[in-house]
Amino acid sequence: MNNLLEIKNLNIEAFYQDRWQPIVRDISLNLKRGEVLGLIGESGAGKSTIGLAAMGYTRQGCRLASGSINLDGMELFDACDEDLRLVRGSKIAYVAQSAAASFNPSHRVIKQYAEAPVHHGIMSYEKAEKEAIEIYRRLFLPAPEKIGYRYPHELSGGQLQRTMVAMAMSCKPDIIVFDEPTTALDVTTQIEVLAAVKEITEKMNKAALYITHDLAVVAQVAHRIMVLRNGRLVEEGETRELIKNPKRKYTRELLNVRTLREEKSITDKMKVILKIKDVAASYTGQDNVLEDINLIVRKGRTVALVGESGSGKSTLAKVITGLLPANNGSITFFEKELPKALKRREKEDLRRMQMIYQMPDTALNPKHTVRKVIGRPLQFYFGIKGKKAEERIKDLLRDIELDPDIYIDRLTTELSGGEKQRICIARALAAEPDLIICDEITSALDQLVAEGILNLLQDLQNKTNMSYLFITHDLATVKAIADKIVIMLEGKIIEQGEKKQILSPPHHEYTDKLLASIPEMDPDWLDTLLKERASTFINQ
């Protein structure tokens, strides 16, 4: 069979620091009808750039330097804008990472679906509407006849992502580029989208480029996988073959990141440092978003708070820190009941409880230097200034494995995501806390970087015997770091206990669903799971 898409020796350059620098180097790929090619790599690997280049498009400040992009017999490399416009949407379509940001919030979903086919003159609005409903049905959206007439904000994240996939299908393109379509979603919703992707590529006989940083995800949908790093091809192969016998070290690292940590036992004798009793909280004064929260954190141990978005995990962090005063119940920290509101808490209590955030970009003031970020808690809590502070800052930087001489005078904007998160950890460490609340601290980071951060936290805990309250939706992280697991759903704790106990059956029904939704590094995992779900669905 002929190749639908043939990219040969593609080089893409970006204008950076006053000159053109290569960001994609010498990439060649072929895509046949009915085939899914997975592009995988960390951020900066050039996967999205290649995905966009397949449509003859580059982001602003980038250019196609050399090579050829042949789409079904048409050369896109030097095609004029008018030709490209005709091809895009109708022959090759794109599904972006954040569907919520890609929809126009003031039009109904189905109208946005019909826009492209009507504009390209392929079909009338009425026909597009009919087809939309058909595609919604095939993508397992609930109430396919009605769902299109809702506005984007009336759909959940997973539903939006699927309507986005439907929108990409509207002109019946031959190729769809999926750019991290599930990265922003919960594990349980991820399954729905993956099932939709499979439905399209297998049953409708389309070709697809699937871009992701998660090898376990791509293993479910792709026939072949290309591993990319820094714009270069590391390894390419059939999915099963690549997962079974990775040839390159980098691929093996990507495969092996989910290592388990040493087991630490929890006994009743260990000192309780944080005790939350019957806590309830709400944003409005009525309607509690948290109810009956009971939780204990012991010295030197890690408690993982797990749940999907909207389960109230971050709200609980706010209640513990006092940003959102609880309506009910008590928070006891070192055998002393804390005032509910932040304002009335003592400086010493604030010092002992520190927080690290999900987005290191917004957690650090862009106008501050590393010295100031880490130096401020030293000065604020301990009154350390001048030379002594300088020494302490350098020590802390060494603790987080950054070279003090290079980093101390940098602005926080001059750091990478992982480095920023390390600085956030150093800021927390500077206060010499007993408890650190980590709110999704690895979810904005690449896999290997996140792994580094988790290892660092582990080492620090071994050294200083701190406790962590680890908030996350990623069960793989939980498996890697937690001693105790607390599972939350809709503002309530539905199950908690030691890691071993929670992770081994029998589970609570919801825990079971959560655990089953983590993609495994097994290409048959999705199919098996979907079959199981279908049969239980019929039985119900």
Binding site: T321, L342, Y357, T362, N365
Partner: protein
């Protein structure tokens, strides 16, 4: 900073040239002016000559001298007023954004009340009650103008306030002033600087219009707005004299706007 200046576009350079020239004239006014600020030296509305470079005004004072001193009075007044209004407006705006709750409600509603009146009419009312002295003039305009600054700085600070680094500072137990000075102000600077230039223009024009209406700087002090008013009658005789102070106002306004445009581009990253 120097590198920034070197990369500035031509329009910004022209603007800077105009502003710099005006400032120099204002600072060295007594050295540049050939006659005293208020001395009558010639006939009414004489045309330009070697003796009077720009001619004379409606009672025979040298127009060039008046322009030079006028620059000094008007620019200094506008500058002081703008600084004051910025200090007031941004402080209150930041406090409202950071404190939130009833502080924000109270301040914002007061500002709403102030903004409900047309500025010029409100200023005329206050000045006609309190009388037009330089301190009253400065305070009246600064307070009226600070409502606009308040709105902007509150909005900007609101955006910054939701960032996690501010939350981190709160959790650390930092006080209000530290949060405002260290966390919010550095990030709010670019839009505020751009707004400063704009507001400076508005204040400058505002003083000129008040002077034109007779409630600004009082004679015999020279200021450009007042000079337009005093000499307005000349235009009916086809004498160009009132156009010169009017042109001065226009030129400085354009100059400042050219610089502000450049700042806006720099701070917003627009091309």
């Amino acid at each position: 900073m120097l590198k920034l200046l070197r990369q500035s576009p031509l329009s910004a350079r022209i603007g800077m040239g105009i502003v710099l020239l005006n400032c120099l004239v204002a600072i060295f006014a007594p050295l540049i002016a050939p006659y005293g600020e208020t001395s009558v030296v010639g006939d009414v509305w004489e045309v330009s000559s070697a003796k009077f470079y720009l001619g004379t005004d409606h009672i025979g004072r040298d127009l060039f001298t008046r322009m030079v001193f006028g620059a000094r009075n008007t620019i200094a007044l506008a500058f002081v007023t703008t600084i004051l209004s910025f200090f007031l407006g941004s402080c209150l705006g930041f406090i409202a954004a950071v404190k939130g709750g009833w502080t924000d409600q109270l301040l914002s509603r007061i500002v709403d009340v102030f903004m409900a009146f047309p500025t010029l009419i409100f200023a005329l009312m206050i000045l006609s009650v309190l009388g037009s002295s330089i301190p009253t003039l400065i305070f009246t305009i600064a307070i009226l103008d600070s409502t606009r600054v308040y709105r902007l700085s509150r909005a900007v600070a609101m955006d910054i306030e939701v960032m996690e680094f501010v939350e981190a500072a709160r959790l650390r137990g930092e006080g209000l002033w530290w949060i405002i000075r260290q966390e919010i102000l550095p990030n709010a600077m670019p839009p505020l600087i751009a707004e400063f230039g704009l507001r400076f223009c508005f204040v400058f024009l505002f003083i000129a219009s008040l002077s034109f209406l007779g409630l600004g700087l009082q004679p015999p002090l020279a200021d450009w707005g007042g000079m337009v008013r005093e000499n307005a009658g000349a235009i009916t005789f086809g004498i160009y004299i009132p156009l010169i102070p009017a042109g001065g106002i226009a030129l400085l306004t354009v100059g400042i706007n050219l610089i502000v445009d450049w700042f806006l581009h720099l701070s917003s990253g627009l091309e």
